[in-house]
C-alpha cells in the first residue's frame, strides 16, 4: 500500500480484524491511526453503520455516510457473513494471520459460532481479542441491550447533566460510545505491549457502562465522603463556590466559558474588570482574602464576582474577550462549535485538520488529524473509508489465496 509518510508507525505490520459497531468503532479508528492494517469486516450488503446520518450532501446514501467516513477512514474493507459455515472458516483463517480482533457482538455470540477467544487463540496464541459490550462479558446485565443514551443513564452521567427542571440531558455526540472505544484502545495497547514482551495474547473485556463512569469520579468521591447524591446542576449543591467553576457567559456575538473565581488568578480578573470600569468594590479590604490569598470567600462574594464578569462579557464579542483575557492570565475560552474549530488559527498552525482524498466525491474532505503528536511515529492519515467489499479481491485472492472460482462461488452464495 502506498503510504503518505515514510516514518514508521507504532502498529506497522500489525493486522486488525474489525468487527465493531458504533459502540466500539472508535477503538479501531485509533488502531488505524497508530498505523495498523485494519480490515473492516462488513456483512454482505454493507454494515448498518453506513446508514447512519449525517450524509455527504445531506441525502441518505450508504456510500456517503459521514459517520461511517469518520470512524472508518484509514481502513481496508471486506464483506463476510461470519455466521455462514464457510464464513466462519474464513474468519478463522484471517484470525491466524491477525494480531488483533476487535468486536462488539453480544456476549456469547462468537462462542456460539465457534469463534470465541478459546477457539481463535488455539491456533493463534498471539491474538488479542478485544470485546466491547454494554456491560461486559458476564454478569446479571451482560445480555441487556443498550444504546449511547441508555449507557449514559446506566453509568450515572445522565442523571447529573442538565437543569433541575428538565429530564437528565444528553450529549449529541455519543460520548458513551466514544469512551468505550477509547478505553478499549488503552486496554488493547496494554495487551499489545505485554505481547511484545512475552509473545502471549489475551482477551480484553470492556464494559461501556464502566467507561462512562470514569467521568463520575468527582460525583462518586462526594458520595463516599458525605453521602451526597447529587442531582442535575449538582456542582451548585456540592461545592458552594462551584456555580462559578465553569459558567457559560453570553458575549455580544456568542458564548464564552470563563472561570473568574479560579485560583490563582482572581487578582487578574479584578484588574481586568477595573480596566473596564467595573468592580470598584473589589478593592475594599474585605475582598483581599478571596481575591489575593485564595481563601474560599463567601457565596455572596463568589456570586458577585461572577456577576461582574458577566457584565464584562456582555459588553464584548467573543474575540474581544478570549485573547485579551488569556493575555491577562485569566482562564477563558470560546464555546466553540465545529464552525469555529474548523477555522481555528491555533489548530491550523499545528496542522490538525487533514485532507483525505475521496475520488468518488471529486475531491478531498477535511478530517480531525492526530489526537496526539508523536515525534517518531506520527499518526497516520492515509485513505478514505472503504466502499463495501472494496478489498475483497485483495484480501481473499491476494492474501488468503482463494481462486477466482472460489471467490465467485462465495459471492454467489452471499458469503462475501
Amino acid at each position: 500500500m502506498p503510504a503518505q509518510s515514510t516514518a514508521p508507525a507504532i502498529l506497522d505490520g500489525c493486522r486488525v480484524l474489525d468487527l465493531t459497531d458504533e459502540s466500539g468503532v472508535f477503538c479501531t479508528k485509533v488502531l488505524a491511526g497508530l498505523g495498523a492494517d485494519v480490515i473492516r469486516i462488513e456483512p454482505p450488503g454493507g454494515h448498518p453503520m453506513r446508514r447512519r446520518a449525517p450524509f455527504y450532501g445531506g441525502q441518505p446514501d450508504p456510500e456517503k455516510s459521514l459517520y461511517w467516513f469518520n470512524f472508518n477512514f484509514n481502513k481496508r474493507g471486506i464483506t463476510l457473513d461470519i455466521a455462514a459455515p464457510e464464513g466462519r472458516d474464513i474468519l478463522k483463517r484471517l484470525a491466524q494471520g491477525a494480531d488483533f480482533l476487535v468486536e462488539c457482538f453480544p456476549p456469547g455470540y462468537l462462542d456460539s459460532l465457534g469463534l470465541g477467544y478459546q477457539h481463535l487463540s488455539a491456533g493463534a496464541p498471539r491474538l488479542i481479542l478485544t470485546s466491547i459490550t454494554p456491560f461486559g462479558q458476564t454478569g446479571p446485565h451482560s445480555r441487556y441491550k443498550a444504546s449511547d443514551l441508555t449507557l449514559c443513564a446506566m453509568g450515572g452521567l445522565a442523571y447529573v447533566i442538565g437543569d433541575e427542571d428538565t429530564p437528565p440531558a444528553w450529549t449529541n455526540s455519543e460520548v458513551a460510545y466514544h469512551q468505550a472505544g477509547a478505553q478499549a484502545a488503552v486496554g488493547t495497547m496494554m495487551a499489545h505491549y505485554y505481547r511484545e514482551l512475552t509473545g502471549e495474547g489475551q482477551h480484553v473485556d470492556v464494559s461501556a457502562q464502566e467507561c462512562v463512569m470514569v467521568a463520575m469520579k468527582p460525583v462518586d468521591l462526594n458520595f463516599k465522603v458525605d453521602g451526597q447524591v447529587p442531582v442535575r446542576r449538582w456542582y451548585t449543591s456540592v461545592f458552594p463556590g462551584a456555580p462559578y467553576l465553569s459558567p457559560i457567559f453570553k458575549a455580544r456575538d456568542g458564548w464564552v466559558v470563563g472561570a473568574p473565581s479560579y485560583w490563582p488568578g482572581r487578582d487578574r480578573v479584578r484588574d481586568w474588570l477595573n480596566s473596564e470600569g467595573l468592580g470598584e468594590e473589589l478593592f475594599q479590604p474585605s475582598w483581599d482574602g478571596f481575591l489575593l490569598r485564595g481563601e474560599e470567600g463567601s457565596p455572596e462574594q463568589q456570586r458577585r464576582l461572577n456577576e461582574l464578569f458577566a457584565a464584562l462579557c456582555a459588553k464584548h464579542t467573543v474575540a474581544e474577550l478570549v485573547e485579551p483575557g488569556q493575555s491577562r492570565g485569566v482562564h477563558i475560552g470560546p464555546v466553540n462549535s465545529a464552525r469555529e474549530l474548523a477555522a481555528d488559527p491555533h489548530l491550523a498552525a499545528r496542522g490538525f485538520l487533514r485532507a483525505v482524498e475521496h475520488p468518488e466525491l471529486g475531491g478531498a474532505l477535511r478530517y480531525p488529524g492526530a489526537p496526539f503528536q508523536l515525534s517518531e511515529t506520527p499518526w497516520r492519515v492515509e485513505r478514505r473509508a472503504p466502499l463495501p467489499g472494496e478489498h475483497n479481491r485483495e484480501v481473499y485472492a491476494g492474501e488468503l489465496g482463494l481462486s477466482a472460482e472460489a471467490l465467485a462461488s462465495l459471492e454467489q452464495r452471499g458469503v462475501i
Binding site: 446508514r51 449525517p54 455527504y56 459521514l66 461486559g136 451482560s142 441487556y144 441491550k145 449511547d148 441508555t150 443513564a153 450515572g156 447533566i161 442538565g162 429530564p167 440531558a169 444528553w170 450529549t171 449529541n172 455526540s173 460520548v175 477509547a182 478505553q183 488503552v186 495497547m189 499489545h192 482477551h203 480484553v204 470492556v206 464494559s207 464502566e210 467521568a215 463520575m216 469520579k217 468527582p218 460525583v219 462518586d220 463516599k224 456542582y235 467553576l245 465553569s246 458564548w255 466559558v257 472561570a259 482562564h331 466553540n336 462549535s337 465545529a338 474549530l341 474548523a342 491555533h346 489548530l347 499545528r350 474532505l365 477535511r366 480531525p368 492526530a370 496526539f372 508523536l374 517518531e376
Partner: protein, 406 residues
Amino acid sequence: MGSHRDVLEGVRVVDFCWAGVGPMTTRHLADFGAEVIKVESMTRVEVCRRAGPHRSAPPDQDSSTQFGNYNSNKLSVSINVKHPEGVELIKRLLRVADVVTDSFSGGVMERLGLGYPQLRQIKPDIIAASLSLMGQSGPHSEYRGHGHILQAMGGLNQLTGWPERQPFAPALAFTDYWVPQLWATAIVGALAHRQKTGQGQFLDCAGLEGAIHATGTAILEFTANGTVRARSGHRHPGYAPHGIYRCRGQDAWCAIAVASDEEWQSFCRALGNPPWTQDERFATCGGRAENAAELDSRITAWTQERSAPDAMRLLQQAGVAAGVAQTVRDLHDDPQLKHRGHFWEWPDPDFRKFTFEGPAFQLSKTPARLRRPSPKLGEHNSYVFLEVLGLADAEYADFIAQGVIN
C-alpha cells in the same frame, strides 16, 4: 494472574503531572504495574492535594479524595526544583527512567533544563510525554485553562442539552476523563515501539486536539456539508423513541432507545399493545420521529406508572434497550458493577470510607490491581533515593539537610 507478570512491570515513570488530567493518564500506567514516581515539592504542594472532598477534618495534604483517586498505586518523592541540586537529583533519577510525563504549560520543562533535547542527552531512549491544554506549538500554546474550559473549546458543550437553552457541560469536566484515555494509549504505544525498535520519542499531547476527537463526526459534518450540528435534547436521527422518561418516584427516570421498526414491535408488546401503539403514524421510525412529542407523552404515561427499574426490566425482557438513569447511590448497589468488581477496596482503616474505581476494561491474563493507596507527600523518598538511586546514607542525609529533598 499468578503466573503472569504485570504488563508494565519494570517500567519506571518519572511523573511531573499535577491536578487531574495528567495524573489520571499516569494512573493507567500505575494500575498496570509501572513504578510511577510522582515528583512533588513541599514548598509548592500539588493543587489536587488541597482539592476536596477530604476524608478527614481538618483537611491536610494527604486527605484529598481526588488526589487519592488520581494517584493511587503511585510513589511520591519531594524535591525542591528551585535548588540547583534538586534538578541534578532529578536528572539522576531520569537516567534510570523509561518515561517522563509532565502537565505544565509549554516552556516550563525547558526552563528547568528538562526539555526533550536535554532529556535525550540524559537518557537517549527516553519517552517524554508533555500533556498540555493546547500543545507545545501554535499561537495559543500559552493559553491557560482546565477541563471546564477545554470541553467548551473542544465543542462538547455546544452539543449538550436543550436546543432552546444555553450550551451545557457534559459532566463536570468531561474532557478530564476523556483525554487521559487517548494519552495513555499513546504512551503505552510508544513503549511498545521502543520495545521493538529501541527508539524513544517525544509526545506532544494537546488536550484540545484530543477533545475534538469526541466530536469528530460533527467536525466532518461541517467541513463536508457546511452544517453546524446543534444541541438536540434527546433526539437522535437513528432512533425513535429516544428519550429519558419520568418514572414513579422522586426524580426517577428511565432511558429508552428504539433502533428499528422490529424493536418498536417488541416495545409495543412489552407495553401490552395498547391501542395508541397501533397508530399508523408510529409504524415507521420516520413517523415516530416526526411525532416524537406525542409519542413521548404516551410513553411517559406508561413509565410514570412504574418504578424506573421495573420499566427497564420489562423493556429489556422484550429486547428493548432501556436503562435507569442511575444516581451515584444506585451505582454502588448495581449488581452488574458488583459482579465486575468495579470498585476496588483498600482495607487500611484510614481508608474505610474509600474505594477506588478500577479500569473499565479487564485483561484476562494481566488484570490491573490496586497495590497501594495514593502516597503521602514525600512518602517514598528513602526508597527512591536510597534503593533506586543508590545514594549513600550520608549523601541522602546531606540532601535533606540542604533542603534539596524536603
